[in-house]
Symmetry: C2
Subunit: 515 residues, 2 copies
């Protein structure tokens, strides 16, 4: 905690009863608790008059609704939330972090791709242009798994990129570009080896040539770019009956699998990692254990020349001043303001604001409101200068390295889908309440904020950052352990979600209406 | 076609070449084609000066952009679309159809439910409160299928009700009630036997008690309504590890399966059918073969006391005058205006209008614009008076029978999902271009508009309405054949989509923003 904070967090399993005397050597030492305080919740360290600012992380997380005595439980009903910081008059690139010493020599075992990117997995992806084909693609995936995969042991799996996009989406609406480019860029994720195999219906609005126009991806099989992507079109006159559709997809998959199967992992520098960080099911420990450990690992990655994406617009909105000041240039700061401003207006159209983000689980876990949640969330980004900004669904260029703000909703699945589209080859997800999150497209390392969760979900949590709260590890040590785990997983070690085959859906961000 | 129409449709496979003389006994007999006209496309029957109204279905489908000679191909580039009819000054309940003679004595073999509804399938459904649990539910479904289903042979299957809803949806936004009530009502679909089994994460915004509050469903297993639905909560402290979560879901499913397995099909009157009709991948034949056949079958169902839902707001918008005049009462007409007006404003917020509905496939199939598409689409509703209107996600009451306008987007998956929520136990889907649509929750009868498609997709199309265009069947005969097929499928005969296990996703209509 920061020395100027008015509150401290109760770390003990089960919380602390009223009457407890806070122990020596800790913030508030000697203070007597006037209320029972649940684990992860806040206790007032000093008397706070009604209307006073209440600071945590050295920022005001609210004002006291009534007078709060030292030793009281400071829960969300005692605080009024501050208004959102205006997006004008912000400090623009005033405090970009100095470039830290390069971290050299570390490698992982990855799959090099034709476009220069590197995969951490070797997957056959089947792109669907439209939800109409999802049932057929799912059956084709089952047949490929059963009949073909055993012949291609170097291929890690086959993934049908199912999504809900259909002709219902108003394709010419101003915002419809977001789901379209998201689908395009997911097909080009580094874990799919630059191989594109499309299943199309035939009459859909989002035709294969619109989804993947010439030049959007490298052609690997000698065809001309103008032919568009390798596509099985179900409405093709050549398809007589359902089985001929399935047979066609299976046969078209065979040469792609053969090319993927010929690849081998090789040592590549850490700079080829593209790590998306996210938190979900957050509690008050997220901001003091798991997220700071992720932040430290993010700094190590950036020092090694890798790319780290952080996201979740509503969870950075209240930290906008930190973000714009940390931008590497005024142009980057302006891009941050542009993305967050666009999102403010998007929420306004639906008559909500950023406060719609917090959940009952957040509050039960001790997070009073979105300001406090945001301060804990943004710690995942570490301390590097912010070097680039991506709009939703955009893909990183090869020269966009370092710490990147990829503007996305905070929804775990929408954020993960957009980070996949951006080119993520490794996902790190912190959780306090616990979630069995996993993706078929990319390994997800799950980091628990508390030891109790890590013990209970022993075969779902890949790392326990609760050891920081237990005093067993420093933030730096937990961050280094996470960095080492990232290299191992990137090299092929399977996460718990992979072992159990836990796959969440791709969920598109579609701000456009459906017809 | 209507005698006042200015255009006729070329029915022939492969279309007709320029120079063809239209045969005797047909509209435009003796006319020489000045262009090649593709199958399903329109030919001008008379000279149309620039700016003239062009009528089909006896309504203006547009105005001639330039002078069009008799015999020319009338494609979408030659027509300007008329503006949308204002929602004021409409004829309100001026022409409700007279009540037709009751059709009595017909039954099907269905599963009677505790709430009075009737299932056409006997399915175990597992409700998910949030996308977070989807990976775990999918693994549980696989184990239940493998380990339990063989012991319960009267149960047709187990369905995980996966959806994309998550904490990202702004739950207090004015429109967020739509996805919430949709999920609630899908769990209560008649094909799930009034059994509710919920898998919850624990920290989600949409808590089980908010999704399924006391009174929203009948309790079957002796628990008190205040306990809420039978729920496996993954974050329960009792769950030590992933396997204990799976074991818990599997064990909780066992008594539900036993209750479902004890049920038997019994003869029930046709009045217990709740049929949702929809079209997708439409062509110019949709409005002259499949949709009129569905309309005739809809009239038979209504005469038998059953419920028929038609939907697809953007595809009825241009027929609003027909709808309000056919309403059974002024209140029903006002509800139609309310729903279509709400939808107009929803589209406006996203800066599109109803014309965003048409697809390249529609146009290639001969549908020039949404007006022409709408006139062909609405024929599915038959000729009965419209007796009720449902807002998106609402569930039919037991006393809401007859022809119902269930207001939904036209997107096949969103419309199907909302019709499931409304209580659909049988789905009829017409297609011209062809789509392999299917749902895990409800049988889908697919009706082809053309014989060529029915021949090519012989094991995907359940009925060929193309026989009408071929002169082999009248609309009435095709409608009667569809009516008989509906009774057979409702009684357990499996559709092609069921035989191939083709399952499209549930797609929620969420007009609220995501955070
Ligand atoms: Ca988060
Ligand atoms: Ca998140
Ligand atoms: Ca339609
Ligand atoms: Ca439709
Ligand atoms: Ca799915």
């Amino acid at each position: 905690m920061h020395p100027a904070d008015h509150v401290a967090i109760v770390a003990n399993d089960g919380g602390l009863p009223a009457g407890t005397v806070l122990p020596a050597g800790m913030p508030g030492a000697g203070l007597i608790l006037l209320d029972a305080v649940p684990q992860g919740h806040k206790v007032a360290l000093c008397d706070l008059p009604a209307g006073a600012e209440v600071r945590r992380y050295n920022v005001p997380i609210g004002t006291a609704r009534t007078a709060i005595q030292a030793g009281r439980w400071v829960h969300e009903k005692l605080l009024d939330m501050p208004g959102a910081r205006a997006l004008t008059g912000l400090p623009m690139a005033t405090q970009p972090a100095p470039v830290a010493a390069a971290l050299t020599g570390r490698t992982f075992m990855g799959f090099r791709n034709a476009d220069g990117s590197v995969g951490t997995r070797n997957l056959l992806a089947i792109t669907a242009t439209v939800q109409c084909v999802a049932g057929v693609v799912a059956q084709a995936v089952r047949r490929i798994e059963r009949e073909l995969l055993p012949q291609f042991p170097n291929v890690d799996g086959v993934v049908g990129l199912e999504h809900s996009y259909g002709c219902g989406v108003a394709i010419d609406a101003p915002d419809a570009i977001i789901p379209i480019r998201t689908l395009r860029h997911i097909s080009l994720n580094p874990n799919f080896g630059c191989e594109v195999l499309v299943v199309s219906l035939g009459c859909e609005k989002l035709q294969p040539s619109r989804l993947l126009p010439p030049g959007s991806f490298p052609i690997r099989d000698g065809r001309s770019a103008e032919d568009g992507p390798d596509t099985v079109c179900l409405q093709d006159a050549a398809h007589i009956g359902f089985m001929s559709m399935l047979d066609d997809i299976v046969e078209r998959a065979r040469p792609v699998l053969a090319r993927l199967n010929a690849r081998r992992r090789e040592p590549v520098p850490v700079s080829e990692l593209v790590v998306g960080v996210q938190c979900g099911g957050s509690d008050a420990f997220s901001g003091v254990t798991a997220n700071p450990a992720v932040g430290h690992a993010a700094d190590l990655l950036v020092r090694a020349g890798a790319t780290v994406m952080f996201s979740e617009n509503t969870e950075v909105r209240d930290a906008v001043e930190q973000l714009t000041s940390r931008a590497a240039s005024v142009a980057v700061a302006e891009a941050i303001v542009r993305e967050l401003g666009w999102y403010d207006r998007y929420l306004e159209r639906g008559r909500v604001d950023r406060s719609a983000n917090t959940t009952p689980g957040n509050k039960a876990g001790g997070l009073s409101n979105i300001v406090e949640k945001a301060m804990g969330s943004i710690i995942k980004s570490g301390s590097s200068a912010i070097s680039h900004v991506l709009a939703p669904g955009e893909k990183l260029r090869r020269d966009q390295r370092g710490l990147v703000f990829a503007a996305t909703p905070a929804s775990d699945f929408i954020c993960g889908t957009l980070q996949l589209a951006a080119g993520m080859n490794l996902h790190v997800f912190t959780t306090g309440r616990g979630t069995p999150y996993g993706l078929a497209e990319c390994p997800v390392i799950k980091v628990a904020t508390r030891s109790e969760l890590a013990r209970r979900w022993h075969d779902l949590m890949d790392l326990n950052a609760g050891r920081i709260a237990d005093g067993e590890q420093t933030i730096e040590q937990a961050g280094e352990a996470l960095f080492e785990l990232m290299l191992a997983v990137a090299s092929g070690e399977r996460t718990w979600a992979e072992q159990h085959q836990l796959h969440n859906a791709l969920v598109l961000f579609n701000p456009a209406p459906v017809t």
